[in-house]
Amino acid sequence: MTASLLRELNSLLGPSNVLHKIEDLVLYEYDGSVEKARPDIVVFPHTTEDVSRVVKLAVKYNVPIVGRGSGTGLSGGALARGGGIILVFARMNRILELDLENARAVVQPGVVNLDITRAVEHAGLYFAPDPSSQKSCTIGGNVAENAGGPHTLANGVTVNHVTALELVLPDGEIVRVGSKHGDAPGYDLCGLFVGSEGTLALVTEITVRLTRKAESVKTLLAIFDAVDDASTTVSEITARGITPAACEMVDGWTLCAIEDYIHAGFPRDSAAILLIEVEGLREAVTAQAEAVEDVCRVHHAREVRIAKDDRERDLLWKGRKNAFGALGRLAPSNYVLDGVIPRSKLPQALRQILLIGKKYGFSVGNIFHAGDGNLHPIVLYDPRDAMQFENAIAASHEIIKYCVELGGALTGEHGVGMEKNELMSLLFSDADFDLMRRVHDAFNPDSSLNPGKVFPLSKGCGEIRVRKQTTTPPAQV
């Protein structure tokens, strides 16, 4: 990296907003995934204009640029695969406007997901998408990945709650798409940019739709002695047309790890639990809770508890949302998958995942958004053991392939990033890639923005190239 680029960045943003020493850069070479890639420079813009100027400098010096929020991503989306500049939005973290009457908030990308809800809950509103990392992940990252969360089953994922965006294009131009109140005439550009994984533009401002809190909520904990019973319960809840606000499943093995860590009150001797939440009008909630309980009992639930107050409910959710942290106590590293399958195929999918894990010698934990069919098998491994790492990747790929065979997809909410891009050919044809590539090139023709993501590098997508590799390969942790 040239010294003059560094000089220009320092002069543009001030030295306190520019990192370039190895000891600082190593903090930005990883995210929540198993991937690693070290940037050459990390910058912290404060305004959209800062972002635009940094992008123009990157163009001038022909270096790639990658946007990053809190670095909680699970697909390597915010890693500088081709080196270059990482642009961290942590200091663009202001809520710019709260329009409670129209249920809209305008926020900068560095605002933490949960902080939006905290700012509006006094008015009975909240921001619906709630990734497990919502206490630390940023809305900019949510937009890039089209993040989901346990409560997106009834309310939809990030894209369903974004009405307008301000963007900085790879040439530094600042543009706005969508409209605050939605329904703007023309193509649904918000629908395209949300979930484009930072490969089309950098998002510098987001207008989100706020949701009104439901009148009534009931949280049920159903305890099963067989995983099959729990998964069959989910399939039947879906088939009966009951749409809970959330329907999460945790297997017994994972439950024990959570209990050791959180003490959420989960049973240690069960094969699986379902955490099911229903919300809406009181009359609807009562009926839905009864229907859910009925399905659970039909499928041999040992016990169905209803959280008796907010404290108990919060504790159950704390257990669920901190599960990945709890698993960190069991093995040095884990690989969290994100495959999606038709919900009718849930029982057979879980059986197969177990078999695949066994084949490669791993215990595979399952804690996931069962109601969406969004699986999160977790392969625990020791990255210091090269063979284990290779096997973990092989097992994971086999699981994802199986999801696709069942009619599913590679990723439900974590994104493709640099983790699953080589698997994209399982789903997409050359013609599909050709069109996606044309759309990519229409906005990011030189691949200067987040190169080496989403598109398979090995399959005719040479234009979506990685310019240079400055870092160690992922396996060498």
Partner: protein, 461 residues
């Protein structure tokens, strides 16, 4: 450009004579879009055949407009060129329906009505309760972007469209999304197809998540002496968090139109609709306990907002009104020979902006009717009694003013329907949006040679 005879033989060579209409003038007229008659109608019966026609059109530099039931061809601007009508009604199978997963994959040419019959057998439905319901196709509904009256509860089409297959402007069969309800694999290109009026791709198949039919339905009608009372009632409903499927506020003129249409379609219906009042119709659904609860709450909220009448509708009347509001676009556009029907989106809370708009409408010499739909969408129809030059000039003048009023309120307006002559002086899409250049990039990626309905879309795309 090919000669007609040459075009005929080339197309027949592609798909066989029985799927190509070239010379039958009367049939070609049925496929006219904004008065422009295509040189040929082609009826593929597979996605591969549709792709072949597109590649042919590309090679011959011919413009293509995909058609379904042709119920809403008047949307948008007249196309600059239109050589081939690609009639997609030959693609009408359900490719995949996993009722247990509530997911569906259906060909673009499938009539919505027919699809509903299949879904109903499984106790499910698609929340596409849209105008021209009896004839419209799934693909046409999606491409038109027309409002479903259920969007307040179920969201817009983009919220439950989970994937699509389509032919791009290079004649390649492409897809995006998938058949699962949650998916972030690859770009969500299918979302771009919603409301694209056939300008990006030829939609061949669409994947949706389906929904369970509710156990019970209800409807409630309240009337107010003025807009203020009706608005206060709407705001109270919004703050109550009551989950309504639909909420329609009608101006007195709109109410009179509704009464007229109702008496025509359902002469037995004796619903008392007093056209001196503003009226608010709410429809809702749920289980047997939810529906009466919502009705009770609406009775109270309307009475608090000083309603002059408040009535829980009997099931027949409610069903009639539901159907009638679903079809509002259709009967409004034909309310007279010269209707300009606007769809306007304003901030929901800004009563003053709406009041400004309505004041202006009432100051104009044209009869006008207003339907405030849920989620901040307003349908405003200017109804010229006769189709003459003077009416046209009046429509032209109000159109310009509506576009500028909407823009001043940080909202936007679109002319959903206008006399063809008006389209030569007024762009139905209003001024070019700020993100127009971005839309052009999308268009160029999908359809590099601009063979799909060129000029029909926003800003001349």
């Amino acid at each position: 450009m090919t000669t007609t005879a040459n075009l005929a033989s080339r197309l027949e060579g592609l798909l066989g004579a029985h799927r190509v209409v070239v010379a039958a003038e009367s049939e070609l007229l049925d496929y006219a879009v904004d008065g422009i008659v295509p040189a040929a109608i082609v009826r593929p019966n597979s996605a591969a055949e549709a792709a072949e026609v597109v590649r042919f059109a590309l090679a011959e530099k011919l413009a293509v407009i995909p058609t379904g039931s042709r119920s809403k061809l008047g949307l948008g601007m007249p196309s600059a060129r239109y050589d081939i009508s690609l009639d997609m009604t030959g693609l009408h199978e359900i490719a995949h329906y996993d009722a247990g997963d509530l997911t569906l994959s259906v060909d673009a040419g499938m009539p919505l009505r027919q699809l509903a019959t299949v879904l109903t057998e499984k106790g499910q439905f698609l929340p596409l309760s849209v105008p021209c319901y009896e004839t419209t196709t799934v693909g046409g509904t999606l491409a038109s972007g027309i409002d479903s009256i259920l969007r307040n509860q179920y969201g817009t089409t983009r919220d439950f469209l989970i994937g699509a297959e389509f032919v791009d402007g290079k004649g390649a069969l492409c897809k995006s999304g998938g058949r699962v309800v949650k998916n972030v694999t690859g770009y969500d290109l299918h979302k771009l197809l919603v409301g694209s009026l056939g300008t990006l791709a030829i939609i061949t198949r669409l994947n949706f998540r389906t929904f369970t039919l509710p156990h019970a339905y209800g409807g409630h009608l309240a009337s107010f002496s003025g807009l203020d009372g009706a608005s206060a009632y709407r705001i109270a409903i919004e703050h109550s968090g009551l989950p309504l499927a639909n909420l329609e506020t009608l101006s007195p003129v709109m109410l009179a139109l509704v009464a007229r249409v109702l008496s025509k379609i359902h002469p037995e219906n004796a619903l008392p609709l007093n056209p001196a009042n503003w009226c608010v119709y709410a429809s809702y659904e749920g289980n047997e306990a939810v529906v009466p609860r919502i009705a009770r709450d609406l009775q109270k909220l309307s009475s608090d907002a000083t309603a002059v009448s408040s009535e829980i509708l009997d099931p027949d009347s409610d069903a009639h009104l539901r159907g009638l509001f679903r079809e509002a676009f259709d009967w409004l556009r034909w309310a007279s020979p010269a209707v300009a029907l606007f769809r306007i989106v304003l901030p929901q809370s800004k009563a003053s902006d709406l009041a400004n708009l309505l004041r202006f409408a009432n100051e104009s010499s044209l009869r006008n009717a207003t339907l405030l739909r849920a989620t901040g969408v307003t349908y405003l129809a200017f109804i010229g009694e006769i189709d003459d030059e003077s009416t046209l000039r009046s429509l032209e003048s109000v159109s310009r003013r509506i576009f500028s009023l909407a823009a001043a309120s940080r909202g936007h307006a679109t002319l959903l329907h206008a006399p063809l002559k008006l389209k030569s002086s007024v762009n139905v899409w209003g001024p070019k949006p700020a993100d127009f250049a971005m839309m052009q990039r999308v268009k160029d990626s999908f359809d590099p040679q601009h063979i799909f309905a060129p000029g029909r879309f926003v800003g001349g795309i």
